[in-house]
């Protein structure tokens, strides 16, 4: 399971056998977090948190009780992008479904970073992907609800596929429509209606704990989705490989 992180890091930069072994040797404690509860208490913890299974989210709770989901965390993602630093984020991380979580001592991460420059670089890269993804989410906000929602599911296909949790055009997905509402800043009722309209247009089917995309290219065109931001490379042509 820990291989999901390694897999992501390899996406983010080439690693040597020694580095991969060092990652595999990390001593980590695994635990389960029940849906709808926080993954950890605060950002001062001595651990960095890795999601191994299930969906989690970073969220902000406003005084009126409204929750806004800031980012979706899928298996292979680190909850904290700021690995080597005690940077305090003001928001929390909760499990949306039951999650399998690994706690990695922050000190271990620091040592890995100091010992293996390529691991450090890969972690940097992962952070930049997170930044880039948040930019995409911001750009996506304020568009028509149907395109916004379509864009989200396109992104998820790519991200889940990268860690082996999606096939070419579908994936398991068991968030509620209320969760989706908090992701998009829409009411659950409106999410429902938009999903229905997307289904009627044969663009996207969200049902039975599963997302199915009848024609990926068509949905991507509809959403104006360009996956480049998920890798930091150009998505057209051959792409330009990072290696600095």
């Amino acid at each position: 399971m820990y291989n999901r992180l390694i897999r992501r890091l390899e996406h983010a930069g080439v690693l040597s056998g020694v580095e991969i072994k060092a990652l595999q040797d990390v001593n980590l404690r695994e635990r389960f977090v029940v849906a709808r509860s926080d993954v950890y208490d605060n950002d001062f913890a001595d651990n960095v948190h890795l999601i191994l299974g299930g969906f989690a989210c970073r969220y902000k709770l406003w005084a009126d009780g409204n929750r806004r989901i800031i980012s979706l965390i899928v298996p292979g993602d680190l909850c904290d992008g700021h690995v080597p630093m005690p940077f305090v984020f003001q928001n929390r991380v909760a499990a949306l479904t039951t999650c399998k979580v690994a706690d990695i001592p922050r000190q271990t991460m620091v040592e890995l970073i100091n010992t293996y420059p390529r691991i450090a670089r890969a972690l940097w890269w992962v952070t930049l992907v997170k930044l880039s993804t948040m930019q995409a989410w911001l750009a996506n906000m304020g568009r028509e609800a149907d395109k916004r929602i379509a864009h989200f599911f396109c992104e998820l296909l790519v991200r889940l596929h990268a860690v082996g949790l999606a096939d070419e055009s579908s994936y398991e997905f068991n968030l509620t429509q209320s969760d989706l509402g908090e992701i998009f800043g829409l009411s659950n009722v409106h999410v429902n209606r938009v999903l229905k309209s997307l289904k009627d247009a044969d663009l996207l089917i969200v049902a039975n704990r599963r997302v199915t995309i009848p024609d990926v290219e068509r949905l991507e065109r509809f959403a104006e989705f360009d996956p480049g931001y998920l890798s930091g490379t150009l998505s057209f042509g051959e792409g330009i490989r990072h290696e600095a």
Copy 2:
């Protein structure tokens, strides 16, 4: 003028005299960018871009011609958070007002980072602040328009104050209401109406190229603004200083 960046980096972590000197000695080319044009052509450029004066923004242009502003870039900010890496962002940076820009060779940045760990750490920190700010923007989306707008102007007060461009409760500000619309994902007309309602409530006055906040605490309470995310430290109590 270059001191604005140094000032920001000092906010982000203590620097020694040697490091400050190294920063001051950086050979940079200054130029002006006219309002409404791109600050640079693409992200492959050999330079990192520093805004010395004026407001710029990172934006995404959708096919229907709608522009969404993803982040506001103020004097002292680097346009690219990803300094040491050739990470390709999919969006562009434009000047909203006439801007004074410094181009810093990427190679110079890499050398600074490799030579001075504390500069490297400060740049990391700046990137994390950017990430944190984007989280705040995302959390802010989908709230009632008046709170969203109030929150934005609270943030700007803190950021501009940090670089000496605001006094305790006001600052120069010459973006158009259409620009603001693209920031908030609202129409310019609605921005206008909300600004009027905020003014009627004596919370915020945006007029004559200037923002004035009659009662900062009251506006912050209204917006539920907590400045902690702009520094990465806790904002209540003494705050916890980062030093790892």
